[in-house]
Structure formats: structure tokens, C-alpha cells
């Protein structure tokens, strides 16, 4: 439900960078952890809705999901945790500490043409 807030922040960051680069953004890659409570489809919908009348209207979003990691209390190794079967993948132990979840990140932006801003000023 908070995808709109995420979309607004994202739109602002991409627009700021576009102005800095003086170029037209066409794609952006973001990454998120497992506990960010962000639904891909809803985020895309929200982003399209607010970007449609802006210079970011053509931006295609790629959303990468980072696994949630845990540290096993038995073998002390880190492993990617599955909610359906929360066990250490190395030794099968089910006692572990969750490691911090990956934050929502804007990883990179792809731009099409130089001087987009100057040309479109008027």
C-alpha cells in the first residue's frame, strides 16, 4: 500500500539525476530486500501513474530482489533464508539470527540522448 510513496521518492531521484545529466531517462534498475513490503506490480502501476506527464514517462523499471540472509547458530555460516523452510542450507539447523534486510535502492539509470533538457526547454 505504500508503493505510491516509494514511487514518488523514486520519481524525484530519477528526475533530479536526469536534470543533472541533461539527458532523457529510459530505464532504471532498483533492488529490494524481502522485508520491504513492496509488490512489483503495484510499484510499476504507481510509478507509471505519476510519471506519465513527466520527463520520466518512458522509464522502464527493473526490480531486482535480494535474498534475506541469516547467520546459522550452529555452523556460524551465512545462508539465504526461505520463508517456507527456514533452515540453514549448510547444516540444516533451524536456529539462526536474521541479518539486516537489503534496503530499497535505486541502483542505476539508463539515459537515451544528450542535451535532452536544452532541446525541450521551450
Amino acid at each position: 500500500m505504500h508503493e505510491m510513496i516509494v514511487a514518488q521518492n523514486l520519481l524525484r531521484q530519477i528526475s533530479d539525476e536526469a536534470k543533472k545529466q541533461n539527458a532523457r531517462p529510459v530505464a532504471a534498475t532498483i533492488s529490494c530486500g524481502k522485508l520491504n513490503a513492496v509488490n512489483d506490480e503495484v510499484l510499476r502501476f504507481a510509478f507509471e501513474a505519476i510519471a506519465k506527464d513527466t520527463l520520466c514517462r518512458d522509464v522502464k523499471l527493473t526490480i531486482e530482489h535480494k535474498p534475506l540472509q541469516a547467520k546459522c547458530s550452529n555452523c556460524h555460516r551465512n545462508f539465504d533464508i526461505e520463508f517456507s523452510e527456514p533452515k540453514c542450507k549448510n547444516c540444516g539447523n533451524s536456529e539462526f539470527e536474521l541479518l539486516p534486510d537489503a534496503p530499497l535502492m535505486l541502483e542505476e539509470i539508463e539515459f537515451q540522448a544528450e542535451n535532452f533538457y536544452e532541446k525541450n526547454k521551450n
Binding site: M1, Q13, A23, V38, I81, P86, F96, L98, I109, F111
Partner: protein
């Protein structure tokens, strides 16, 4: 075509205020908990009972988050505790900047504990850090024992879980052991208390835990002596 690496947190604006709030609370040595649950789980009833029954021991202040109305703030005020109401006007969670403003309106120096009652929602509030020392999840037995498995984020991130309305256990299909086991599967150290804020059952264990947390945080003992 050119690609530019950005590598910036999308919610960096929220994070900035969250860190500021956390720093402010640490400097003041005040414990702050972020209370998260579905609507109707009994958050406000838990707070009013806790405030009333711990009146001689703890000074508790509350930041109330709701989409609309000040109904909950009025209940807290009726229990004679300082409260600041935030209306999110549609937003499904509180954000750190709102809490930062609310903290300025609370008599923080006179308090031992600040509880932020987040907007009733088991999903979104878990993604927005407010500067709290820990999250306090509430699950009422009427909601069903499958919630920790279905909404893992909040149970994975919480320091403590209150399972409320246990006076209704005979009337609803709620498997306590299943709910507890599912909550602990992702969070081995989560403290779980079974309570009824209506009848008072189990509240003393919760109070003991809460007082111990406050004692570890800060100025409580200095204020008493």
C-alpha cells in the same frame, strides 16, 4: 545510451529523519517503541490499561497515528497521558518526519517511555523506520493464528509480540502454539506475552518486561532518586 550508477536508498529521506529521531531519543535516554498491528487488535486499549496500571512507576507518552480522527488520542488523554495525534490523511503508515515533529510537541524530558501507535496495518508500517528502539507487534486471537506465517516481515522485525484478547480463546479457532512457533521461526529472540487488555489477564508479565526495558535505557532510576 549511457548508464549511470546511482546506488542510493530510495527511502533515504525517511532514513535521514529516522536517524535524527533515534539520535535525539538516545541522547535523552528515552525508550521508544513502535507499535504495529492490524486495525482493531486492541492497541489503544493495551495502551490505556498500561498507562493507568503503571501510573506510579512509568511516565508514558504516546504518539498516535491514524488515517483520520482523533478518537484514539482522546482515549489516551482520558487516561491522563501526554499524547500527540498525527493524521496521515490516507497514508497507510507513519513516516519519520511526522514523528520528528510529534516528538517536539511531547514533554519528552518528563517521560520514561514513548510509544508510537502506528496506523492499523500489518504490512506497510514495518517498512518505515521511525527512530524507535524496537518494534512492538500486536496480534489479537480473533485475527487468526496464520498471521505470523502470512505477514512475516513485522514478526521478523519485532522485539516483542503481544497476543491480545486471550479471553476470547474459547470462542475462536486460534492455535496459540502455531502462532508462537511461526513468529519464532524467523525471530528466535522475540518476546511473546499472552494478554487480555480487557480483563487484565497476563498484563503483569508484559509490565515487568516493559519496566526492565525502560530501566536498561535510561533516566528512569535517576528520576526516581
Amino acid at each position: 545510451m549511457k548508464k549511470i550508477k546511482i546506488e542510493k536508498k530510495i527511502l533515504s529521506e525517511n532514513e535521514k529523519y529516522s536517524i535524527e529521531n533515534s539520535f535525539f531519543l538516545m541522547q535523552k535516554k528515552k525508550l521508544c517503541l513502535n507499535m504495529i498491528s492490524s486495525p482493531g487488535s486492541g492497541k489503544t486499549t493495551i495502551l490505556t490499561r498500561t498507562i493507568t496500571e503503571l501510573r506510579d512507576k512509568l511516565n508514558i507518552g504516546v504518539i498516535e497515528g491514524d488515517i483520520q480522527t482523533d478518537f484514539d488520542a482522546r482515549r489516551i488523554r482520558a487516561a491522563d497521558a501526554p499524547v500527540v495525534q498525527i493524521n496521515t490523511e490516507g497514508a497507510c503508515h507513519l513516516s519519520a518526519v511526522q514523528v520528528s515533529k510529534a516528538l517536539k510537541d511531547l514533554p519528552v524530558d518528563d517521560l520514561d517511555l514513548i510509544i508510537i501507535e502506528n496506523v492499523g496495518n500489518l504490512v506497510c508500517p514495518s517498512a518505515f523506520e521511525l527512530g524507535e528502539a524496537g518494534k512492538l507487534a500486536v496480534l489479537s486471537v480473533a485475527e487468526g493464528d496464520d498471521k505470523p506465517a502470512k505477514y512475516p516481515a513485522i514478526f521478523a522485525k519485532s522485539k516483542v509480540l503481544l497476543i491480545n484478547k486471550i479471553d476470547l480463546l474459547g470462542h475462536v479457532d486460534f492455535d496459540l502454539e502455531r502462532a508462537k512457533a511461526d513468529a519464532r521461526r524467523l525471530n528466535r529472540t522475540i518476546e511473546i506475552f499472552l494478554i487480555s487488555a480487557k480483563t487484565g489477564q497476563g498484563m503483569n508479565n508484559w509490565y515487568d518486561w516493559l519496566i526492565e526495558q525502560v530501566r536498561q535505557t535510561g533516566t528512569w532510576q535517576e528520576r526516581l532518586h
